[in-house]
């Protein structure tokens, strides 16, 4: 059963259309991450789901109920904000219980829910403190607690970790994942941190200009990007792109099988053995090939790769766990990720191997071929 359904949602600020006929279906208990560049409308979408913004067109369903015109409190959602948004003059306990007191719940139930949330988040010892006397991580935990006590099915997060330092962010990320596994709520999470998105999400929705470009599992988004934008947006260091044309191997004579296709530039030919085309290829069509830095192999593996190439190494960047090589092939930049034991030096000529089955081809309009 779907937990949150958004159908043909549009939202404009005056003449600016921020969301354009957006559709999204989130399953019950699913962790969906909205990922996209700054200003693409992620927060706007989340605010629409929460009922903090009036939509211009379209409908929103939560747990099967049409909530398009409902007040935020009646939607069965809890929300966590980037700036924590704790009420500064209230103690942690009062912060947690504010919503419950507004709803007029009996005292003992308020107390029960607050203690339960405090226990889950390990903030029992902080209940009497004011937000100003908490660290960033503790504040964010209280903010999550405020959503938790509401006992709702859907949690909305707007970049909850982006104000924290790197170490704390990693810790809280794991905690959030654990929380999700324990509670089993539906969670919609906005971020522009790819690692957060890839590690937390059951499915990632990549947004651009108020539209969802691709909604897929982290694996799908990473390995089968649906268009050029998604391919370039996900991954760090980014995917390598080369411009060229498609040629039919048979006509060209370099390959003998009928269904063989090559990616070709004036100086380079990459046979596309084993590439699964989504659309029928046309000979002579201008295309862009995208290859992930870690899908280019070095050393012994080169021999068994489908395609062998020679590149010039320009810069070597040791990153700890692995090493990134910035190389050049026929005037194009090519980034290669290899393990940290590699002893490549700037200026080396390297023999590298590519498996086209793991590459992505994009037509001129950006769609995956």
């Amino acid at each position: 059963m779907s937990s949150v359904t958004i159908s043909d949602l549009s939202l404009s600020f005056g003449p600016v259309k921020v969301l354009k006929d957006l559709n999204l279906e989130v399953n019950e208990g699913e962790f969906v991450v909205l990922l996209g560049p700054s200003g693409c409308g992620k927060s706007t979408l989340l605010n629409c789901i929460a009922g903090l913004l009036d939509v211009s067109a379209g409908q929103i369903f939560i747990d099967g109920k049409n909530v398009t015109w409902d007040e935020p409190k009646d939607r069965g959602i809890g929300m966590v904000f980037q700036s924590y948004a704790l009420y500064p003059q209230m103690s942690v306990e009062k912060n947690l219980s504010f919503g419950l007191r507004v709803a007029g719940l009996p005292k003992h139930e308020v107390h029960e829910r607050v203690s339960r949330a405090a226990e889950i988040l390990q903030i029992q010892s902080l209940l009497k403190r004011k937000p100003a006397a908490l660290s960033g991580g503790q504040r964010q935990r209280v903010a999550i607690g405020r959503a938790l006590v509401r006992d709702v099915n859907v949690f909305l997060f707007d970049e909850p970790l982006s104000n924290l330092d790197a170490k704390l962010r990693t810790d809280l990320r794991v905690e959030l994942k654990r929380l999700h596994q324990r509670l089993g709520n539906t969670m919609i999470y906005v971020t522009h941190d790819q690692i957060e998105a890839l590690t937390l999400a059951d499915r990632i929705a990549i947004m651009k200009d108020g539209l969802i470009q691709q909604l897929d599992t982290p694996h799908g988004v990473y390995n089968n990007p649906t268009n050029r934008f998604v391919a370039g947006f996900i991954g760090s260091p980014g995917m390598n792109f080369l411009n060229g044309t498609l040629e039919n191997g048979l006509e060209n004579g370099s390959n003998n099988e009928k269904d063989q296709w090559n990616f070709a530039t004036p100086d380079l030919r990459i046979p596309l053995n084993g590439y699964a085309f989504k659309q029928a290829p046309v000979a002579g069509q201008p295309v862009e090939i995208g290859i992930r830095p870690e899908n280019i192999v070095l050393g012994e593996a080169v021999a068994s790769a489908a395609v062998q190439l020679t590149v010039d190494t320009e810069i070597v960047e040791p990153m700890g766990a692995d090493t990134v090589l910035w190389t050049n092939i026929a005037g194009n930049n090519l980034t290669i990720r290899t393990d940290s034991e590699s002893d490549v030096k700037p200026g080396d000529k390297l023999s590298v191997g590519i498996n086209p089955s793991r590459a992505s081809l994009f037509a001129q309009n950006g769609d995956r071929l």
Binding site: N47, A50, L52, E71, K73, G78, M79, S83, A85, F98
Partner: protein, 301 residues
Amino acid sequence: MADTTAMAMQGPSGPKPKRAISARNIVLYGFLIVAALYWLLPLYVMIVTSLKGLPEVRMGNIFSPPMELTFEPWVKAWDSACTGLYCEGLKVGFWNSVQILIPSTIISIVIASVNGYALSFWRFKGSEIFFTILLFGAFIPYQVMLYPLVIILRELHLFSSLSGVVLIHTIFGMPILTLLFRNYFAGVPDELFKAARVDGAGFWRIFFQIMLPMSLPIFVVAIILQVTGIWNDFLFGIIYAGTTNFPMTVQLNNIVNSTQGVKEYNVNMAATLLTGALPLIVYFVSGKLFVRGIAAGAVKG
């Protein structure tokens, strides 16, 4: 390596010594002392004069302390100085001023704070235009509105009454106070408001339980503005209050500028000090509160 350690041992270390007397400090403190004297001297003259008897005042040594200390002028200024026809002192004006001050301050701040809150969080269609018009009102010269307001108050049967003056003060305080509160609330993070909405709080609950507790500093500022402004007002008091309701400032003028009899400088000084006492006290007391209010308002760190 040895070089650097040797250099480190010779070089400066620890806190940089401060020179107590530098040319800069002499100029700075010199200027401050002169400025303080310049402002405090008149006050000093007023205080000593108000504590002298008339014969001593006539001797003309305005800087000398009183030879014979007397509080007679203060008592007279408060209780029996003549303001035009009546000789009941400033106390009548004082109570009039209090009766004008308290309701106008409270009403104007209550309305303006709600205005500012609504204008920054509950944008409605045309709220920007509403705000612009309100601001524009702050720049219209009072003189233009004096006569129309006389007529309006007459039609409302409020002319020559305390409520009339209160109404006028409330109206004229509105633009600047609304601006003050709107700008303060505009600085409150939007997400705080959104969080409260998700928690189910409505217009008034968010105002009273979230916004009010965190806006003490701006209320103090507004109170200072209104109390001093209204207490010092002369124009509205003389025009709209009517003779029996004259505020303290108007009565002070009547005492000081009375043309009959001898000029009692000591009584005049005492009366002036009495009239100025309230704003002075407000500044002294609220300064501390103000700082404390700001320190307590930490939102996010």
